[in-house]
Structures are given as C-alpha cells and as structure tokens.
C-alpha cells in the first residue's frame, strides 16, 4: 500500500524519508514540487493526490510539514490520508509538538515509530497506547537517564497490547490517583450575512477524555439529553450496540488522553448564536480611503461570559494602512499579508467593544469590490451551547473510587460574518 514516506518542509527540503518496500528515489518528489508551485501561496491548495507516470503521491499538510506518501497501486485515498494524519498526531503526542525541529531532534524515535506503524505499507500498530508500550516517548528526565545509564527508549517488555482484543488500552496500568476527566467542547460553525441573519449554523462537538485509571475499568457515561446528538462518531473503544439501544457510552477507555466521541447537533435545533456583530465597512469611490466601524455585542450567551474574542479580517490587497481606535483590546494590521486582527478579550455587555477608524487605500486603485469577511473566535467557559449535559459516569470492574469531572466549553468554530 504505502510505499514510501517523505517529509517535506515549507521551503521544499526533504528532511526525512522512509521506505517500506524497495527504495523510491527522491526525484519522485519533483512532481510534488511542481504541483506545489502551481498551487501558489496557499499550501492548502496543493492537490492531495498527484498522479505521476509510475507512482501516485498523496500528501497532507500538517504543522507546516507536508507528509508525502508514495503509492504504486490502487488504494483508497482516504486510507492514506487518514493514516498520514494519524502519523502527525502520533508525533505530536510523542514530542509535544510536531515540527521540523522536533522531528529532526528525535529522528531515531520517529524512525522506530514509523517502523512499527506500518508493515509492508499496511498499518500495523496505530494505537498510541500500543506504540507507547513499544517505544517510550522522550522526556527530559528519561533522555538524561538514558545518556547516563545507556538504557534505551525501546520498551524491553514485549507489547502485550497488540495481542489483546482491546488494543487501545495498555496492560498493567497503575495510578495512585485515579481520575477521569471529560471535556465537552462544542464549536459553532456559522455564516452570518451582512444583515445579521444566520445563513447557516451548526454545532459540532467533541468529548475529549483524560482517563488515568488503574487496571481495566469499564466506564459508562450517560447524558441527560442524548437525543440532541444527531450524528456521532466514536473512538473504537465505545460499544456501539449499547449506544444504539440505550444511548449511553459504554467503554473500556484507553489510557491517557483520547477523543471519546465527536458529534453533531441536529440541524433541527436552532443554534444559539452567542454574539452579534454590527459592522459597517465601506470604501469610497474617490479619495482612496474607506471607513470601518465594528461593534460586537452579546446575543444568546446563556448568562455566561464570552472570552477570548478575536476578530480576524483578510483585508483587500489594495489596502495600504489603517488608522483605527479600539475601545477595548488591541488591533494589529499586517501590511504584507493584509490581515487585520483585533484581539478584544472579554466581552463586556455594559460597554460594548468597538473598533472604528479610517482605512487608506492605494491611490488610483479601484475600490475593492468585496468587503472582507470577519472571522470571529471566542470562547465561553462552562457552557455547552447545545445544552448537552453529562448526567453521570459509572465505573465497573474496579474497586477503587475515581475522581471524575466534566468541563464544558463552547468555542467559535468556523464562524464567519459576511460584510
């Protein structure tokens, strides 16, 4: 399936290669570079699948690195794409961040990981719990100990997880503090049109878990209102039949952090939009200038505080500079990328934040046709905007009492205001 993997940085250097079958020359990447230059500045515009005379190149772009897989025969493209993302996630999991520098620093571990993840191009072990049993993630302490004692990163116990039918959980887990925390994070995707009415809005949620429990606990998580969840996808540990019949999540959790489920709140439920935007951006036909006036205000916040409010605008190319004053927060305009960022911070309902001022446009240039779209980011702590509520968590199969907790968070996802 996957023949070779090349990691390419933004500058077009191949800084790592790994082959699972016979070696494929680096020159195959030239086709990719060609496509890359064609795509222009935005790396997201590079086609994910590129056909070359003898190979097919499938790439994903993560953390400013292109993961480029070379394949030779028919294979579902999503299979490869999904795997490459899994590789990137594994690196992130191991090294804290996935960047060219960390990969170069840990090249041996990276190689060992890749060796275990694929056998003859077919995925072998992709579960983080198994991999961590095989190859220990680097920590400062461990690397120091290793240099002194000469011991290694490779686990000397044999990975029993691979043999079990619960491959996501490693065996013999022990903690002194047993704890299980769940974060229900919801993102609002919305498009708001010029007049302030909602073009489309949906809620996408995930439940991320951090479970540190001894032994083989069997957890059951139930919701107050599971009917809200319209479309769900689960970590493989979740027993699907149980969800089908009782709408509870029953699972033996992996050890550590993992995404338990992601869901979509049904479109029938009206989505509460927590903030509103009053904007007026105009460019004058003559005089090479324009005006900008944006006010943000709370709409349906369920009585919670809106935080981390940021407005990002991709301004038209002809814009030269801005002269703006904000009643709250800071704003910054990058004249090269033409991105205007207004970092508002907390939304104070008594004193609505406002950004106002003039824009100066390249003289002689025609007035820009499209007003910039406002991309808005915000966070609301302690609120799941859909109203989802975890009702209880039970643990079976082990005797101790775990600490448990649920946190809710609402964020803006792809939240755009057209102007």
């Amino acid at each position: 399936m996957i023949h070779s993997l090349f990691l390419v940085n933004g500058a077009g250097d191949i800084f790592l290669e790994k082959h699972w079958k016979s070696v494929v020359g680096r020159s195959v990447c030239d086709y990719f570079f060609e496509a890359q230059s064609k795509a222009g500045e935005d790396p997201e515009n590079v086609p994910p699948v590129i056909s070359t005379p003898h190979h097919y190149l499938i790439n994903v772009y993560r953390h400013k690195i292109f993961f480029l897989a070379v394949i030779q025969t028919e294979v579902p493209p999503l299979f490869v794409i999904e795997f490459l993302h899994r590789v990137a996630e594994t690196f992130q999991d191991y090294f804290g961040e996935c960047s060219e520098a960390t990969i170069k620093d840990n090249v041996v571990i990276v190689y060992e990981l890749l060796e275990e993840m694929l056998d003859n191009g077919f995925p072998l072990a992709t579960e983080s719990n198994i991999l961590k049993e095989l190859i220990k993630p680097p920590t400062i302490l461990r690397s120091m100990v290793n240099t002194i004692t000469g011991s290694s990163n490779v686990g000397d116990t044999l990975p029993t997880g691979q043999l079990s039918t619960i491959p996501w959980r490693r065996a013999g887990v022990k903690y002194t503090n047993n704890e299980a925390y769940f974060d229900a994070i919801e993102e609002i995707d919305a498009i708001i049109d010029k007049s302030g009415s909602t073009v489309c809005a949906e809620i996408q949620g995930v439940i991320d878990a951090c479970v540190k429990l001894t032994g083989m606990p069997d957890l059951t998580l139930s919701f107050m209102n599971p009917r809200l969840l319209d479309d769900v996808s689960f970590h493989p540990c979740v027993r699907f039949k149980r969800w089908e019949s009782e709408k509870v999540l029953s699972f033996i959790p992996p050890d550590g952090n993992f995404r338990l489920m992601s869901y979509h709140v049904s479109a029938q439920n009206l989505v509460a939009i927590p903030i509103y935007v009053k904007q007026n951006i105009s460019f004058f036909e003559s005089g090479s200038s324009g005006r900008l006036d944006i006010t943000l205000g709370p709409k349906q916040t369920m009585g919670k505080q809106v935080e981390g409010l940021t407005v990002t605008m991709n301004m038209p190319r002809v814009l030269l500079s801005v002269n703006l004053t904000a009643t709250q927060g800071t704003h910054k305009f990058d004249p090269v990328t033409k991105i205007l960022v207004w970092d508002v911070g907390k939304l104070n309902p008594q004193k609505l934040p406002n950004l106002k001022g003039s824009l100066s446009v390249q003289s002689g240039a025609p007035k820009p046709e499209e007003n910039p779209t406002l991309n808005i980011q915000f966070k609301i702590q302690q609120l799941a905007i859909s109203g989802l509520k975890v009702s209880r968590l039970d643990m079976y199969g082990e005797k101790y009492k775990p600490f448990k907790g649920v946190k809710y968070l609402t964020k803006a996802g792809r939240f755009q205001v057209r102007t």
């Binding site: 493209p77 041996v108 056998d119 992709t126 498009i191 493989p236 039949k241 992601s262 046709e369």
Partner: protein, 1138 residues
Amino acid sequence: MSASSAFGDDKGGSSNVGEPEYGHDPASGGIFSSDYKRHDDLKEMLDSNKDSLKLEAMKRIVAMIARGKNASELFPAVVKNVACKNIEVKKLVYVYLVRYAEEQQDLALLSISTFQRGLKDPNQLIRASALRVLSSIRVTIIVPIMMLAIKEAASDMSPYVRKTAAHAIPKLYSLDPDQKDQLIEVIEKLLADKTTLVAGSVVMAFEEVCPERIDLIHKNYRKLCNLLIDVEEWGQVVIINMLTRYARTQFLNPNINETLLEEEKAFYGSDEDEDSKEETPDAEVSTAAKRKPYVMDPDHRLLLRNTKPLLQSRNAAVVMAVAQLYFHLAPKAEVGVIAKALVRLMRSHSEVQYVVLQNVATMTIKRRGMFEPYLKSFYIRSTDPTQIKILKLEVLTNLANETNISTILREFQTYIKSNDKDFVAATIQAIGRCATNIGEVRDTCLNGLVQLLSNRDELVVAESVVVIKKLLQMQPEQHSEIIKHMAKLTDNIQVPMARASILWLIGEYCEHVPKIAPDVLRKMAKTFTNEEDIVKLQIMNLAAKLYLTNSKQTKLLTQYVLNLAKYDQNYDIRDRARFIRQLIVPMEKGGALSKYAKKLFLALKPAPVLESPFKDRDHFQLGSLSHLLNAKAGGYQELPDWPDVVPDPSVRNVEVKDSVIKLLERVTTLTSVPEWTKCSGRDKRKDKKADKPFYSDSEGESGPTESADSGSDSESDSESGSETGSSEESGSRSDTEDSYEEEEESDSEGMEKVPKGRNILRRKNKTSASDSAASDESGGEEDRLPKPGYGKRSESEEEKSESESSESDSESEPESESDADTKKKKKKKKVPVSAPASKPTKKANVEKKEAVEKKEMSLLDLDDFLSTPTESTTYQVSPVSNVVSNSLVTDLEGLSLTDTTMSAVTITSSSSMKMYELLHRIKGEGLAVEYCFSRQPFSSDIHMVAVQIQFTNNTSSEVKNLHVEEPKLQSGMRMKEFQEIDVLPPSGTATAVIGIDFCDSTQAANFQLCTNTRKFFVTIQPPVGELMTPVFMTENEFKKEQGNLMGMNEISEKLALGEMCQNDITIVQRVTSAANISRVPCGSDKECRFAGKTVTSGSLVLVTVLTKEGGAAQLTVNCEKMVIGTMLVKDILQALSP
C-alpha cells in the same frame, strides 16, 4: 569503497579495540576526518562490547538513513550485531537490514540464521518479529525459507503470529510471483481463521495476491461480515472494499425493479416509487414476464446491516468505505443513511474534505435527494482553499432544483464578489449550469449574468460572456437585446476569449442584429492586426458569415479582413483566410464548394450541454484512487456489474459445527449487551487464559458447554448474584439503587460473590422457581391491585434475599432472545421489591422511574462548579458511609419495631398523625390526595422519610394509572415512588407510601402526580420534626451526647407553659407529635428528655424540656445541624405554647 574491503578493514580495526577514546568522543573524529574516517569510527563503535556505544552508532546510522544518506558500506559492521542482546540496538539493526539487504544480498544472508532461530522461539512476539523482518528482506535466494516460514506461521497457535504471516504473504508475492499458487493455499487457510486480528491482514493479502479468486470468499463471507465490527479500522476498510466487489458478483441488483419501473414511469405516471420492490402489485402484473419479485438475499442484508454501524467510525476511510458500499449495493431507499456521515467528514482536515467532496459530487449526480437536506453544509466560506470551494460549488450546482434554486442563487451572488478570481469564474459557470438545468430561472440567471457584464473585473466579464454565449445558444430569438448589449462590449472587453465569444455570437445570430453586426465587423477590421489569434479567427468567421447573409454591406470589409489575415504571422490564420476565401468568394475556377458555403457556415449548431465533470464517474468504485483521478490506477479491480441470474447462494453455507454457531451467537450477544458484569466474568475467565479476546470469542477455546451458559445467561446470573451478595451484606438494601456510594460498594462486593450467588441461583432454580408460593413477589405480581399484604414479609432477611434472587432468576431464564427483550426484563427487575407489588404493566412507567433514579444520582451534575483549579473541577466522591453499621442499625430497629417495620402500608392514619393536603379535590378534578408522615422507617432505604399518601376518588368514574412523574428535587434529594396504582374505583380510596430523602432539609419535594388523563403538580414539604427518627438511649448516654453538643450546637429558649401543659404527659405528647423523637428515661420529674436522629445524615437531635415554677420552662435542643436545631426549637415552642 567496496563492501568487502570495508569488511576487511573492520576486522583489522576490531583487533585493537583497546582504544575507546574514538568511541567516546565521536565528535573529535567527525571534525577532522573525512566521511570515510567517520564511518570508520562508527564501525569501531559497532564492534565494541559496549551496548551503549553500539546504540549510539546505530542511532547515527539510522539518522543518516532518514536523511537519505547512503550508509550501505557499513553493512558488514552492522549485520554482525543482529544477534545483539540489547533490544533497541537489535531493532535499529533490523531497520538497517531491511533498508539495505536488497543491495547487499550476500552479506544479508549472514543474518538469516538468527531469524530462523527466532521463528522457533517460545515467545509469540519474538516469533512474529522474526518473521516480520525475515519477510521484509528482499533477497530472492531466501524465498524458499520465507515460504516455509510463512506456512509454519500460518498454523501457529498465536493469532498475532498468524497475522504477521498474512502480512508476509504480499511481501513474498512481490519478491517472487511464481509462488502465487502456494501462497493462495496459505491465504485460503488464513481466510478460515476466526480471529479479528487476522481477518484484516489476510484480506489485504488476498487483495494483493489473488483478488480474482472470489470463490475463496464464499465460505468465509458470513464470518467476515460478523467479525467486521471488531476488526481494527484499517482492516475494516480493506474488507469492506473487498466485500463490495464480492456482493456485486453474488447478489442481484436491489434496484433492478426500480430501473425497470423507471422505464415504464411515463406509462404509470408515478414519479416517486421509492420502494418498488414488491409493494406495487399492479406494476408487477404487467411486467411479470420481465421480472420476478425481488427478494434480497439474506446474506446481502447481512452485509448491509453489519456495515452500517461503521458509519460512526472516527476513521474517515472506514466511513467512506461504508458509504461506497451502500452507494453501490444498497436499495435506493436505504442509501440515504450515508449522507449524514459523509457530511460529518466535511469538518475534517482539508485533504479529507477534498476526497469526500469528490465522491459526494459523483453521488449527487445519481442521487440528488440524498444530500438535499444538507445543502447548507456545502456553503462556501471565504477561508476555504480554492480547490475545496470549487468542489463545493460543484455539489451545490448538482443539488440545485426548482425549490432550492433561489437560495442557491442568492448564495452564488455573494460568491461572485469574492477576491478569489478562479472561484468567481467557477461560480459564473455554475450559474450557467443552473440556468441550463432549471428552465424557470434561466431568464433570471441570464439577467444576472448580463449585469455582471458591467463588472469592473475583466475576468468576471469574460467568464460571463462565455457563459451567456452558451445560454443564448439555447433560445437566441428571444434575446437579441442581450446580443446587442454584448456587441457594445467589444469596445471595452479585452479578454480574448470573451471577445471571441462575442464575435462568434454576433456572427451566429447576425440575422437578429442586422444593423449592428456589420458595424462590429467594421470596428474589428480596424483593430484586426492587434488582436489575439483566437479573436482574429472569430473576426474572419464573422466576416464570412456576414458576407454570406449580407454581402452588400460587408463585401469590402470581408475582403479587407481576409487580406489582412493572408499576411498574418500565424499560419493557422493564413490557412483559415485562404480557406474562407476559396469557400465564399465565387471564383472563376474551382468554387465547387462555394454553393455549399451557406450550409457550412450557417448550419444550425446544437446548443452545448453544460454537464458536470463528475458525470459517469461512478463507473469507478467510489472512494477509490481511480475514481478520484478519473483514470484507472494500477491494480484497480473493476467493480463488476450485477449478475442477471442470481448465483447459487448455497456456496456460502458453511457446515457449521454447533460450537461455531454458538460462538457467533456469543459474539453478537457479547457485543450487544455489554453489561459490566460480563466483564467481571471475563476477568475471571482471563485468569485462566491470559489472551482471551474481548468481543469475539475467536480463539475458540471455549467449548460448547461454556458458551451455552455464557452471554445473556451468565450476565443476568451474575447480576442477580451480585444482588444476592449485597442483600446478604446489607439487609436494608433492596435491589433498587440506594445512594451512589452504597451501590458501588455493594456492587464490588457482589462481584466477589458471583460464583456463590450463582450457586444459590442454581439451587433455587431447581427448587423454588416452580414453587410460586415461596416467593411472595411472584404472588404479588399476579395481583393487579395494590395489595397491602406486607405483614407477610416479616421473614428473616436471608429469606428475603433468596426470594429476590429466585425472582430474578426465573426472569432471566428465558432471556436468550433479543436485546430489547432483555432490556425490558432488566427494567422489570429493578422494580422495588419492598414497595407494594402490583404488577408493573406499563413499561413507560418503569422507564420514567429509571429516569428519576438516574436524576437522583446525577453525581456529574456540575451545574454549580466553576473551572478554576483542578480540584474544583472534579467531583470528589464523598467517603462511603459504613454499610455494615447501617445494616446493624436497621437490624436493631427491626428488633425493636418488629411488628411495624414491614407494614408501612397497613398503618391507618391515626388521629395523632397530622394529614396534609397534597391535592385538593376541586383542583384534582375529583381526585383528593392527602399525605401524612407515617413515622415508620422506609423499609427499602433507611435514609428516606416515609410519606403515606392517601388517594380518594370523589368522581363517578375510575381513575387509572396513578403514578409519579418527573420529580423536581433539590440536588442530593432522592425519591422513591410508589408502585403505580392501576385502578381507583369511584369513591374508593387507596394508600401508597413513598420514600423521600430530604437530605435533612425542609426543602420541598416537587413532582407530578399523573393519572392516565391528567398531570398535577404537587409538593410535599416536611416539617422539620419529620426529618428524624427516634433513638433509644439511656440517661447516661444522653448526658454524654449532650456534653458533646454544647456551644454552637445548643439552642435554648425560655417559654411559658400554658395551663394545659403543666404535667409531663402532655408535654411528651406535644413534643413527640411535633417531632419524631422518643423519650429518654429520666430521673428527675422536672425534666423531659427526648432523643432522635436525622434521617439522612444520622445526626443526633437531643431535646430537653425543663419545667420550672409558675408555668415557666426552658427548652434546650442540642443538634449538630444548627438549622435543624433552630427550626425544631420553633416548632416545639409552638406545640407547647398554650
């Protein structure tokens, strides 16, 4: 340097390893020495005895490989370390070996014996890893060794080794395709494997080696379908894709009748026959000759059913695989389920979006309706990458129809203003396509596009012109205005394609604009030399057409243009000029064609069809690389057409031994009813065999005897077993959940006792199941009316628990059927044993009750916690109250109150008990409800206050199904409802007892009282005195306890006793009526002492009334809970005051 010489050098080097400096400081060697020297240094490190040096060297070598540097010359030095003891060194050597073995075949052979030894290792993981490396070494000489190793591993005991064998098969096949026949044998063997671990890998091998041998799948088809959900995700993708192909060859097209019907649609005039399978008898009769009623093969159904849950996978590839399977195999009516899952994937990374959108675009052409509800999910955001935008646009265009076109066009309007010009151009084309497909909006679109002609951006104008040209071609007569307008544009538009389009349009329809056309030609002739080539060609075209229709006005112009063209630099233009001149200008010689000139130039041209580029892409299997590229990729297996005649379905029949069926059953039951108790059972079994699989019993080591009582049966057994265990432990506990802590405690205790509980069950099953009289529950269940026969239940606790378990046992007996059934029964089991046992007929009621219970115990109800430090975000489970002591207390109480403990219901409301009104008979429409605090310990939970409710039916009709719904309780409060009262006859009364744990507060418990027709909101608010139970203690104990409760916990109040209350009998009476406490013996006759404890927390409440001279008295209450104390003082004062 050649490998052999390096080897020699190395040997020389290894003789004097006495100088470890080299190894210790590799950097010093690195700076001054050449590459060759540095490698020397690595070699020395590899030859040293120290593992740490070896490791360091190997790490550097691997880093070289990773960077793509050649490290092949180190091969001999590295390969020696293949037998190194250090695992990490060994692994890195393997990495190196696999990378370079192909280049150094001879030397690689040195390592083979190590692996051969590894293949015989007792540890399965070592066997597997040896096979893995051995098979990865691409050296042709070892093919026979590999073959042998694979064959052996394929029959290994360990499924993990067998999996590795499956992985090795394609490796060997690519090395030596001649081994195919032998490999197929191995594949066939492994396909029969029953473990989920092997399934994915072997199907992968099957696809790579012999995808054409579909016959190998027959016998394994059903097994693969059943195992599918438990296979790891990558294996699932491969299996699903393979099964799609298989199904296409083995089953009939489920939509076959539909396609036939479509042909006859006009005849019947029915447009939407979604389910035309057998349901349309009239259609059937007429076409009986052509088709038989379609009945889906059960195996086909099995595949569809078992893949459906995988749409919920987190892995996009799995979701896509299922989606394509449904698209290619499912009946039309069922395909819709995949839309939601595919739309979900749109939230994923942009690469995933790209692939999904490509597939959605293809699907929308065939099945538009499927995605219509998700139209908005395809709206475009300004931040999307261009390639995603264009694909979304494609989908939107495909989805457009009469009903949604207006919203789509409005959306398109915003897109047109985008800064991304490629996207704008695509949008304009999309508008053009909508206009051609949907007649109603053609004019709107055209007008919109014409407006765009005045756009400032040239690209937009040009694209619009091109699209308008195509649209106009459909009905030119009606749009001469637009043509005129466009003719004017020639002055401004500079984009060659647009100019060319306009010219073509004017030439084509010059008859509609007879006045303007020659003028345009005049202008063009002026600028001819400066035009682009395609424009020049169109100018000539225009000239020729005008010459043919209007030669009077344009003859000279045409000649002028043709003359200019004759000397053009481009030979195409010169050629064209010559050609046109020969054709249209009558010459003295030749000119044979000139009479056909009109036919050539002015022939009616069919309007272009604006089609989706995704049309007909679906002949490729969706989700495949070939589909994405719209070209056949190497190794692509065509998706076969449905067979006309159904192939023999019996080929899939497997002569199953009983055990296999059982196993499969077990697989399904285990996955479907995963109760925690099962896990405990599993853990137990695990002790016997460590690597016992979880979901599927794939090992097959459990024989038919074990599997017979496993699954449903064992699960329910062990649950009731745990009940038995718990009720033995804490007598007070019935099988309903008590407080959370307690439940957990007894659960775990129950687990330990599972085997014991089972034994009891077995025994009971034989003796008491048929003996209905033995268990009063079963007796009670027969009765439909509430039966106050609780006096009977004063048997020992042991007896009670036994009857309980026998009840649940008899229920669990027939529990092997469906899930739903099991569930229902489980619910039934939860019916409180000690509450009046009327038969729980209404399942709904039970459900509500469950909901109530859940709510009561919502520990995770985190309404009021804030996210600051971690401590505050957690809910700490409060320490367990001591179960044993609880049960002891109950036992003691049982002793002292033997007569009344169990007969809560029989208590008649004595005059001393104050009745409170719960529901007035007017408000309750004839149903009057009163309640009193019976002051009896609530038998099933000592933390609850028993509230006796009396219903009186004042109407002339029956009141049915009296029950409690939706308790709204303060956090921590719990409530146990009474059994539903089925019928309350006219002017009849009934009593029931509910238990409420008020948490030692006087907060009201709100709930709904429901009849079959009405719901009433009611509230029970307890006086503080009812929140306690009497405690018996001696005077000394009392004094001691009082001494502990001084200070803040003591509240004193002076009062004047009325004349009536002068003697202590009245005082005792009044105090005990105000609070549920009992008198404590006392030496002094001036003092009356009372003791009680609160119901929930068990805090002591001590009351002292000290009478003084002249009717004065002092009241003292000692209580840990000050609120309770204060309130109690108030209540007692009121009771004692005259």
